[in-house]
């Protein structure tokens, strides 16, 4: 018999967005946070570069310039009012973090220091501007710790190592609860609440080379998808150019910001050919495509010819130790390469999901082109799509997204708690979850989930990565279909109730397959190239037909429907994306 817990509000996921929402909520209503990890393990902690806001502490800056950069950086798929809002609220969001104790680096006069970062400019692109606030090269870690500290201060109720496996909706479609699996005991729990905020992060683990943690398996989007919620702009995935070869571990953009150069196997600085003006500081998607091209033309290094190299050997060793200590350590520890006098092998790595659960600027999940809100359901952070990043995210905008929209979702969720009654959960709420789990547990023999996962990851890397085409995507769609069919026959060896990570990894694979399916279907539909979505059969941007967001949803019979909604325009007219 599953235990039922009733709260006013639930937050699913305890990363930056989740904890920011929880802080906002727990000051006003009875809140619980459900996380499959302990909060400080969340991947927000891996972010390095910084969090941006137009504070103007070191040079003149305006929120309006920030909004423009976000829109242009998103290749004009960004909803402009949302970008404007985020840029304006950024300022107080940063000050709030500092007031809570975040140890930002400081200017000589004691104010929060800011540095340059890719894509952030003054006067709409005239020159780079110092907008990124940072804490050494551990900004994400500091944000995660600071938010957790504020949760400890408020004695926020955490349910750690509880996996959210299903969303419960009442007869009117409102979100009224979730079903969660307690890893420690194998028991199912029903959580009822008036407001539910999803903040579960991304789904980079569908690719074999990714900067994402193993835990990032698209749980929130998949759970919502399975209950009829559409997913927006799933094809938009960011491939960061400088990940450690084979491992995918991120080497921050700050390396290129400090003067690092990307080279091919002949030692050539090939970005001179692809972006003659700003060369290695071109936007991430452009550099990734350039690396891809070099590899395709046979100038990739490494045993399989699929590496490029990051060269920081010409930088002052002091600069390297002070400003790039983490990436130096990664290169030394994981590849046994000494970056001060050797080139570091790199590969584009699957880094960030611009798409996800569609929301409005208050974090409310909305359905369809008409953007009808689903009462009680919210989403924030990487799992949500406001859309504030469009087709490509600028560096430092993600940590900002977490705190701005995490807060806004918390605020509106609290308002909803005060106005709405507690909804009913369906009869037999754990039925679907139980049958999913028991099907796997009771199977004596079958497919190995690890094999299916590896094939998904390898094929997504080959067919749906930096460069795509109708041929590669339709092949991928077929493969996903086969993998899903095989997934239905997975058996595991751990049949126990305690800490059955075997079972949970299998469930997570199911989520990944769903997210991959949504991604590939949406990518096939979008017959243009924009931001992180590049197709060599449609290499140009097509504003006449494609200034719209894709909305994919799964019907009851398993087929996928596609809908679209227009991009919310504003003062910025789409221009060619030159830097």
């Amino acid at each position: 018999m599953a235990t039922t817990h009733t709260y006013d509000a639930l937050v699913i996921g305890a990363g930056g967005a989740g904890m920011r929402a929880a802080i906002e909520l727990s000051d006003q209503v009875r809140t619980a946070v459900i996380s499959k990890l302990y909060p400080t393990r969340s991947h927000t902690g891996a972010a390095q570069g910084g969090v941006c806001a137009a504070l103007g502490n070191t040079e003149e800056d305006h929120a309006e310039w920030h909004a423009f950069d976000t829109v242009k950086g998103g290749d004009y798929l960004t909803d402009q009012p949302a970008a404007q809002l985020m840029a304006e609220e950024a300022i107080d969001a940063i000050y709030q973090l500092e007031r809570w104790g975040l140890p930002f680096n400081r200017t000589p006069d004691g104010r929060i220091d800011q540095r340059r970062f890719g894509g952030h400019t003054a006067e709409h692109g005239e020159r780079p501007v110092r907008r990124a606030c940072y804490a050494a090269d551990r900004t994400g870690h500091m944000i995660l710790q600071t938010l957790y500290q504020q949760c400890v201060k408020r004695d926020v109720r955490f349910f750690n190592e509880f996996y959210c496996l299903d969303l419960l909706r009442d007869a009117h479609g409102a979100a009224t609860g979730v079903v969660a699996y307690e890893l420690a005991t194998g028991e199912l729990h029903i959580f009822r609440a008036k407001s539910i905020v999803f903040a579960t992060g991304g789904y980079g683990r569908m690719f074999s080379v990714t900067s994402n943690a193993h835990a990032l398996t698209g749980d929130g989007p998949a759970v919502a998808w399975r209950r009829g919620v559409p997913l927006e702009d799933m094809e938009m995935f960011q491939f960061h150019p400088t990940g450690l070869a084979k491992l995918g571990v991120l080497l921050s953009e700050a390396a290129r910001g400090e003067g690092g150069i990307v080279r091919n196997k002949d030692g050539e600085r090939f970005m001179e050919r692809y972006a003659p003006t700003i060369k290695d500081l071109a936007p991430r998607d452009m550099v990734s495509r350039a690396i891809y091209q070099e590899i395709k033309e046979g100038r990739g290094g490494g045993p399989n010819g699929d590496w490029a190299y990051l060269d920081i050997t010409h930088l002052d060793p002091k600069v390297i130790e002070e400003k790039l200590p983490d990436i130096t350590e990664f290169a030394r520890v994981y590849l046994k390469v000494e970056p001060t006098n050797e080139l570091v092998p790199i590969q584009p790595t699957a880094h960030y999901a611009m798409g996800g659960i569609p929301t409005d600027v208050d974090g409310r999940v909305v359905e369809g082109a008409a953007e009808t809100p689903i009462p009680g359901l919210y989403a924030a952070g990487e799992c949500a799509c406001v859309s504030v990043h469009g087709a490509n995210r600028l560096g430092t905008n993600s940590l900002l997204d977490l705190v701005v929209f995490g807060r806004r979702a918390g605020v509106d969720a609290a308002r909803h708690v005060k106005e709405a009654p507690l909804g009913d959960v369906p009869e037999r709420p754990t039925e679907r979850t139980l049958s999913m789990l028991n099907a796997v547990l009771e199977r004596a023999e079958g497919e190995n989930a690890a094999d299916i996962r590896k094939e998904l990851q390898a094929n997504m890397f080959d067919l749906a990565f930096v460069v795509r085409s109708e041929e590669s995507l339709s092949k991928m769609e077929t493969i996903i279909g086969e993998l899903q069919e095989r997934f239905g026959r997975v058996a595991i060896s751990d049949k126990g109730a305690l800490y059955n990570t075997d079972l949970m990894e299998t469930v997570e694979l199911g989520f990944l397959l769903d997210c991959a399916q949504a991604l590939v279907v949406s990518a096939r539909a979008r017959t243009e190239s924009r931001g992180g979505h590049y197709r060599d059969d449609h290499p140009l941007r097509d504003d006449a037909n494609w200034l719209k967001h894709t909305l994919a949803s799964r019907n009851d019979d398993g087929s996928i429907s596609l809908d679209f909604k227009p991009v919310k325009m504003g003062p910025y007219v789409p221009m060619e994306r030159k830097y």
């Binding site: 004695d155 926020v156 750690n160 028991e187």
Partner: protein
């Protein structure tokens, strides 16, 4: 099966709490018994280095070594208040330093509170007894009245 209350990391029930005042305790001084003992161990340790090493050297090094330590030797030494004080300081500091050390070891390794209490009591009683005996001797020793007549 373990309940969820044990597995979670907070004791709250999720309800909003009013802000607490974290400065209310600032009138009481920081530190306390543990601080004193920590400081005492370090200072007495240095002093004991001199007292105990000195004592050992005096007993063993000059020609004759410990063989020359007899009643007369002690009587001569303890004619001077300086040596009596030295020896009393050695007694007191070594006992407190040692007993506190035992208290710390007990705190580190003995789990059950009852056993810890018992062990500590044994140490304190032992220590106190030795202190009393030693003090009596150092203070009342009179070579012309030995053994002291009751």
């Amino acid at each position: 099966m373990a309940t969820t209350i044990e597995r979670s990391t907070t004791s709250g029930d999720g309800a909003p709490r009013p802000p607490r005042d974290y400065t209310r305790g600032s009138e009481r001084p920081v530190g306390g018994f543990e601080l004193w003992m920590w400081l005492f161990m370090r200072i007495s340790g240095i002093v004991l280095l001199v007292l105990a090493l000195g004592h050992t050297l005096i007993m063993h090094l000059p020609s004759g070594g410990v063989d020359r330590v007899d009643f007369g030797f002690v009587a001569t030494r303890w004619a001077s208040p300086f040596w009596r004080s030295w020896d009393w300081m050695l007694l007191t500091l070594a006992l407190i330093h040692g007993i506190n050390g035992l208290r710390n070891i007990t705190l580190d390794y003995v789990r059950k509170p009852g056993t810890r209490f018992a062990a500590n009591m044994v140490f304190y009683v032992l220590g106190f007894t030795l202190f009393v005996l030693g003090t009596i001797i150092v203070v009342t020793f009179d070579p012309s009245n030995w053994p002291p007549v009751a």
